[in-house]
């Protein structure tokens, strides 16, 4: 990489004039020959000082950034076993080199999981190991200079923390942990990603990623109620801030705003209505997503999660259910109990928290809902396993329930279901390309590329089986595919939520 100044590093790259082109859809995922530096020009906008300071980070790159970064690295090595162990034990065997969606599409070797991790390790070895201090470059130990920092900023924002590499690593090395630590270090020296930092600021100020205030939220819910009533003639309610309800539903705020997210919102509402369960949303907990995880900042993650706890104490629900959102479900499933648990006030008969798919499928299996599968006959459905759901969570009691339950639910509400290539689903699923804080338009090239493996697999089933609906359980997946489908020549409408299908097939008012 060429010489770079602090100012250049902090300046957001100018927008490209030519539109981003998508790779060709051939149905095949080919292991490419490496092209050095092919994706190095990608970088998301940097966060402005006022946004950074709001989260307690320095406004801009501090003068002694190198010293501060190394100090922070030392601190994280003491705090995270994952980071410490993963710094030491990689043998560079190469097993992960062809597993990342960003490498397969950009061909840039720094987008190979080990290539990305080595950007971190070369600094670690230089300042924290005897091997690196004595042997220097021979042992791959390198000074942390501005050029390397620029590479960090570029490539650690081309990792969606999807954990696919970890599946294939003989030691389970999880690049997500390393990229989270890298972002935490960059934030701590004043180099933050605008998208994530801005969203976190909105959660703290207003309560959700979108910055939707209670009045707007109320308006959106009323609108959805009107829509459902217009369509079905049945007054389905979407209650807000109801005390002592049976269920508090926490869902990504995108469900109140975007398409096709909102169709799943309709689905949730119909399920609760038809099951006759008293439920509520909360203005305080109007966001399931937790971008604190993307930047590896424990304090931010805990602060965002604490809003859920506040809502539980204010509204006193008996159960806690989480809507369709991938990384949110990871934070909820793996981290909430630690961050804001134990959930002593919630009914222990049900999982704390419970996923909306677990919730709805349970109702269907108990015969509490009447389903007309033919309502979805116009669709041939496939299912995209969201990376965070697949590799960091579970549904139900058995390992792998996170794969089986969504499929069971789809098959319970739709007649035509087709599976994509086995190498691209379940534990081996590819990220949609927009996860982990990459869902921002200035790096659309990264997003389009990242979607490539999934697009190839989808292309295959569209061609061979006429698939015209890819069911999703993640707000980021929905937004990402809606944005990149047109670039690949696939209609936007092919992307939708599982509860969109549920909502269509659910027969309202048919009970008794």
């Amino acid at each position: 990489m060429a010489e770079i100044t602090k100012e250049e590093l902090m300046t957001s790259a100018p927008k490209k004039k030519e539109p981003d082109k998508a790779p060709k859809l051939t149905g095949k995922i080919v292991k490419p020959k490496i092209v050095r530096g092919a994706a190095g020009h990608n970088k998301p906008y940097t966060a402005k000082p006022e946004l950074m300071e709001k989260l307690g980070f320095p406004g801009q790159l501090v003068d002694n950034w190198q010293e501060a970064a190394i100090r922070k690295m030392g601190e994280l090595l003491e705090k995270y076993k994952s980071l410490q162990v993963y710094m030491d034990i990689c043998v560079r065997c190469g097993a992960c080199t062809d597993k990342c969606q960003y490498f397969l599409s950009t061909k840039d070797p720094n987008n190979m999981p080990v290539g990305r991790a080595e950007l971190f390790r070369k600094v670690y070895r230089r300042y924290f190991t005897r091997e690196g201090k004595i042997l220097g470059k021979i042992a791959g130990a390198v000074d942390f200079d501005l050029e390397l920092l620029a590479e960090w900023y570029s490539y650690f924002h081309q990792c969606s923390q999807c954990r696919r590499c970890s599946v294939f690593c003989p030691y389970g090395i999880d690049t997500a942990e390393i990229s989270m630590a890298a972002r935490e270090i960059m934030d701590s020296i004043g180099l933050g990603e605008k998208y994530v930092v801005e969203v976190l600021g909105k959660v703290h100020d207003i309560g959700n990623n979108l910055g939707m205030n209670p009045k707007a939220l109320e308006n959106a819910l009323e609108f959805v109620e009107e829509e459902i009533e217009e369509e079905t003639g049945i007054p389905v309610k979407l209650p807000l801030d109801v005390e002592d309800a049976e269920v508090l539903l926490v869902t990504p705020s995108a469900d109140f705003f975007a398409s096709p997210h909102m169709e799943s919102l309709v689905g949730y509402a119909k399920v609760f209505h038809q099951a006759g369960i008293n439920w509520t949303f909360s203005t305080k907990a109007s966001e399931a997503g937790n971008f604190g995880m993307f930047i590896g900042n424990y304090g931010q993650m805990k602060k965002v999660a604490s809003r859920i706890n506040d809502a539980i104490h204010e509204l006193r629900p008996k159960r806690l259910v989480v809507g369709e959102c991938g990384h949110a479900w990871r934070v909820a499933y793996q981290f909430w109990n630690t961050l804001i648990g134990p959930f002593d006030t919630l009914n222990p008969k049900y999982p704390r928290p419970q996923h909306i798919v677990e919730f709805t499928l349970d109702l269907i299996n108990r015969g509490a809902l009447v389903i007309d599968k033919s309502a979805n006959d116009e669709f041939t459905v496939t299912f995209h396993d969201s990376c965070n759901v697949a590799r960091a969570t579970r549904m139900g009691d058995k390992p792998g329930g996170q794969f089986e339950l969504p499929r069971e639910l789809i098959k319970a509400v739709a007649n035509n279901y087709v599976e994509m290539d086995a190498e691209t689903i379940k534990a081996k699923t590819f990220c949609c390309g927009g996860g982990g804080g990459l869902l921002t338009d200035e790096i659309m090239e990264v997003r389009i590329n990242g979607a490539m493996p999934r697009m190839q697999a989808l292309h295959n089933v569209m061609e061979t089986h006429g698939v015209n609906f890819m069911a999703l359980i993640c707000a980021i997946c929905k937004a990402q595919f809606t944005a990149v489908f047109p670039k690949y020549g696939v209609p936007r409408e092919v992307a939708g939520g599982i509860h969109q299908l549920v909502g269509r097939a659910l027969v309202l008012g048919a009970k008794e």
């Binding site: 020959k33 490496i34 050095r36 090595l77 003491e78 705090k79 995270y80 076993k81 994952s82 410490q84 162990v85 993963y86 030491d88 034990i89 990689c90 043998v91 560079r92 065997c93 190469g94 097993a95 992960c96 080199t97 597993k99 070797p109 190979m112 290539g115 080595e118 190991t129 005897r130 091997e131 042997l135 470059k137 021979i138 042992a139 791959g140 954990r163 970890s166 599946v167 294939f168 690593c169 003989p170 030691y171 389970g172 999880d174 424990y298 805990k302 499933y333 793996q334 981290f335 109990n337 630690t338 134990p342 999982p351 704390r352 590799r391 960091a392 579970r394 390992p399 329930g401 534990a427």
Partner: protein, 240 residues
């Protein structure tokens, strides 16, 4: 006893001390560094027994690597197998009389060194051939392979070609183990072999070879998938 013997005896004590202390210090660091959150890779075992089974599959069969890349698995697995045979074979130098339970090793006696050396060559070549692994390989990666190959080669030479006297070697090693030093066999190939092994022991705790101890501390593999049932608590995470 001559000066060379004295030097090598001292060298051996220093090397072994560095290895043991260095290894334990590293493992101690892994053990005491907290894991603030449950980050197990799913689908995964939901119980401790399940975690042990998962670890056995990984350490005993390199399961993930097998599903990831059969060629690297083949090279890596046979290399480690060869290493295990070679190590077991060397146990005979540490016990008098040699334990009867190790008698079966004589079956592999003749091949052990080759089972170790051949995959090392294969892994070395693999690094050079694939553009992706060539890109990520450090000089030290080749260096460790080269060091192991030299150790294997000199070991094979002492057995088949220059035939170091096994009785003398055993006396020398037993002398070190029992703290009553005996003279070193003055055989160039053996001395070279011994020197390289000591260098390996010294380098071990400071290198990627720590994967040997580190794998047991990998949180994605050693945690049970039970975060909803069991609250995962570490001091700083609950305070922070």
């Amino acid at each position: 006893m001559n000066g060379i013997s004295l030097f090598y005896i001292a060298f051996a004590y220093v090397a072994v001390a560095i290895f043991i202390i260095g290894f334990l210090a590293r493992v101690w660091k892994y053990a005491k560094t907290p894991s603030p959150l449950n980050i197990t890779l799913t689908p995964g075992p939901t119980s401790t027994t399940g975690v042990v089974y998962r670890m056995v599959q990984e350490v005993g069969f390199f399961k993930s690597l097998f599903y990831s890349n059969r060629i690297i698995w083949l090279g890596g697995y046979i290399m480690h197998l060869g290493l295990a045979l070679v190590l077991i074979k060397h146990f005979r130098f540490f016990f008098t009389p040699a334990p009867a339970s190790l008698a079966w090793i004589t079956t592999f006696e003749a091949y052990a060194g080759f089972i170790f050396l051949a995959p090392l060559l294969f892994l070395f070549a693999l690094r050079l051939i694939t553009d992706r692994t060539y890109y990520i390989s450090l000089i030290t990666d080749y260096g460790i392979l080269a060091l192991l190959m030299l150790i294997a080669a000199t070991g094979i030479l002492t057995k088949y070609y220059v035939r170091t006297d096994i009785i003398d070697v055993k006396a020398f090693v037993m002398g070190i183990v029992s703290f009553s030093p005996a003279a070193m066999p003055m055989d160039f190939i053996f001395i070279l072999h011994f020197t390289l092994v000591m260098l390996l022991l010294i380098y071990f705790p400071f290198s990627k070879l720590m994967h040997a101890g580190g794998i047991f501390f990998s949180p994605t593999r050693n945690q049970a998938d039970d975060p909803r049932e069991v609250r995962h608590v570490t001091p700083w995470a609950v305070k922070g």
